[in-house]
């Protein structure tokens, strides 16, 4: 009993855990509610599908959370997803080995990340503007690589590629979920346990203090945008594997889904705050709402409205809780 209590205390001592627990409880309630409405929701098959649906949102959410914690934003995520999908598919239809195509794609996407980071940290452009620009450019590249057409099927030669990113399974879990899980573990470790992670929080909290303490703001910011671009790239590859072709508008408005997942999970858009566990729960709420409302027969329009309301309410709740805390402290 004693041990359990100290464990809980330790858990609560992790910064940002409070909100994550609140959101987690919200998630459980939501999940059970949908399950009661339609028992199929609990079935193993649906859970496996649901996880596979959530995985890409987790990935882009992780990337966006990294950027948001430094107090910046990455609007180019959705376009990088599209770029990744189109470049990989085009290369494969042209007969390139799928794994070579994957490598080329990753390099292209990381270049976008580097440019984003340099524009923001070195050239001091407002991140909103800088990534708005790269967002448009990346979408343009997605359109131009196959002369403004979606690609044909990437063919049978790419079966291993498609299995690796989407159709394959390890035990009960789809590969997509495993990829997301592994990347999440890695990036969570980096953010919470390493020096780079600490610097990411410091920059978001007070960039001036970080600079004066000898933190290399430029390189850290570039790293953050690299993580974001890399995550978006992987999601693009997953999208390509899913449909077996390249679509030019793949990943449309994913950057906003990524912000939503982060913010629902307690990441502050002002920087300095949030943990990746929250992002996972934020993405899960997102996925459950999509999936659950679909099961309940709600049209797409209603789904959008509900999700929009959830984003606003979750942040509003946080603001109310915090202001309550502050007024108590003052009084």
């Amino acid at each position: 009993m004693d041990k359990k209590q100290s464990g809980l205390k330790k858990l609560l001592a992790v910064r940002g855990m409070g909100q994550v627990i609140t959101v987690g409880i919200g998630f459980v309630i939501l999940y059970i509610a949908f399950g009661i409405m339609n028992p199929v929701f609990f079935s193993g098959k649906n859970v496996a599908n649901l996880l596979r649906q959530i995985a890409p949102i987790v990935l882009i959410g992780v990337g966006q959370s990294y950027v948001l914690i430094t107090g910046n934003i990455d609007l180019s995520i959705g376009s990088v997803v599209g770029m990744s999908c189109m470049i990989s598919a085009t290369l494969m239809t042209k007969g390139m080995n799928p794994w070579a195509a994957v490598c080329v794609t990753i390099i292209c996407c990381l270049v976008v990340g580097i440019i984003n980071g340099l524009l923001v940290a070195e050239c001091k452009l407002p991140p909103f503007i800088a990534t708005l620009g790269t967002m448009t450019i990346a979408r343009g590249i997605a359109q131009i690589v196959n002369n403004n057409y979606n690609t044909d099927s990437i063919g049978d030669g790419a079966k291993a590629f498609r299995d690796f990113f989407y159709y394959g399974k390890m035990g009960p879990l789809y590969n997509t979920v495993i990829i997301a899980l592994i990347l999440w573990l890695v990036f969570n470790f980096v953010l919470s346990k390493t020096r780079t992670g600490r610097h990411i929080y410091a920059i978001g909290s007070n960039i001036e203090a970080a600079k004066l303490s000898g933190v290399n703001v430029v390189s850290t910011t570039v790293k953050v945008y690299l993580v974001s671009a890399f995550c978006a790239c992987v999601v693009g590859l997953i999208t390509c594997a899913t449909s077996g072709m390249g679509t030019m508008d793949a990943g449309n408005s994913y950057e906003m889904y990524a912000v939503a997942a982060s913010v629902i999970g307690g990441v502050s858009t002002l920087g300095g705050q949030g943990i990746l566990l929250g992002t996972v729960i934020g993405a899960a709420i997102w996925g459950v709402l999509q999936n659950g409302l679909q099961f309940a027969g709600a049209p797409v329009a209603i789904r959008n409205i509900v999700i929009g309301v959830i984003v606003v309410v979750s942040v509003l709740l946080d603001v109310i809780v915090r202001s309550g805390k502050f007024s108590k402290k003052k009084g």
């Binding site: 610097h199 929080y201 978001g204 007070n206 001036e208 203090a209 004066l212 303490s213 000898g214």
Partner: protein, 504 residues
Amino acid sequence: MQDEYIVELSHIMKSFPGVKALDDVSFHLKSGEVMALLGENGAGKSTLMKILSGVYTRDEGTIRIFGEEIHEMNPQKAQELGVAIIHQELNMCQHLTVAENMFLGREKVKGMVLSQREMNEEARAMLGRLNINMDPTTIVGDMSVSKQQMVEIAKALSTNARVLIMDEPTSALTSKEIDDLFVIIRKLKSEGCGIVYISHRLEELKHIVDRVTIMRDGHYITEMEFDENRMDTIIAHMVGREIKEKFPRISCPKGKKIFEVRNLNAGRMVRDVSLELYEGEIVGIAGLMGAGRTETTRAIFGVDPKESGQILLDGQEVTIRCAADAIKAGIVLAPEDRKKDGLCTKLSIRDNIALPNLDILCNALGVVNRKKEAIMTNQAVESLKIKLPNAEVDAGSLSGGNQQKVVVGKWLARNSRVVIFDEPTRGIDVAAKVEIYNLMNQLKKEGIGVLFVSSEMPEVMGISDRIIVMCDGRVTGEIMAEDATQDQILKFATQFESKIGAAD
């Protein structure tokens, strides 16, 4: 060894676009001494120290630290050399803990992983050594400003600094904490550290300072042994002329009562406060930090909610629920933190002056009358003698004293009846202080009620006609300025709060 210089800066030059910030400045520091670096605002003290700590790079000149000539200087290099700086503005990451802030940029790692526990332990040991009572795992943003300042000091010391630069370290501290800081400084001195101490509060110097270096307008003026009895010489060097009266005073006949606060309550820091204000007088509110003075002014002005109490202007009760009500009634506030609460630093001076007066300046459709606006700005600039290139420059680019004048200027444009100043001279130099005092005197002469909060005792005693002393959210005493002594004010200021010792 004692007399060897540990820091030698010679012939340092530094220009910023359009300004020569430092022109052939030299500076020497010995080990085991406290060197005060003095000068007016804009004299280049902070710039010089930022060069020493690697924040800025010099254009010309040599830097020697412990006899070694340093060519390339940056914050990390400075840290390695044992030079640490405590900046004037708080530079803390609000979301991180005390220990995380102390080790920022030089985290301890095992392999790739941060050694959180080790850093916490070391931070705890450092805080203990400095007699600072706080838990290193506290989030910095949850602590008071003065506590944060102590963290900043602990952070600088935890780098094992041998040269410590303190830029206005006491401006946010309570008198008890200032005492603690002085104890720390003396201890460091005895351990052979060299300390550079920048402060506008000249009365602090006698407690710790050994020598002074004086700068003016980016030039080195002189270096001398500190002698309490030669303060006038020091001030003359700083301002380049003799200041005849540090506290100019004019006498006016006391007129009728214009303003009264009756039994005001607002939270724990404002309890049953009553005060009166007459025409032709300046009323000072004295007290220690945290006595509820700022809270009182905020409650009067309607920024913070009131629980009970009446406010009367010219015998009529006025209802003030928000700042706009107070402004309309003619009660205005020049807040403590100019940059944060007093000015929109990124807007022009003209915009700042116009902002609270848009009701006068706009026509029925809400369109700003640019002509009226220009006239209003010019009047303010002329009557307050604000020094500025033109009214279009950012308010943030002005010096502290001129910023304060803009804050006042925007209120005077609208026939205010009562002006409340909260720490109007904080962080501004001697000459600019006198100008602010003259400004208050001018208001007094015009029959405007002046209420004036200050932590600096000589100032309160020198400028006010009547002094109200607060302690722990209550008014504990009222003294006429001519009868007042520091001891008397301190006695009132510490009533019910015997555990807090007074600095001086």
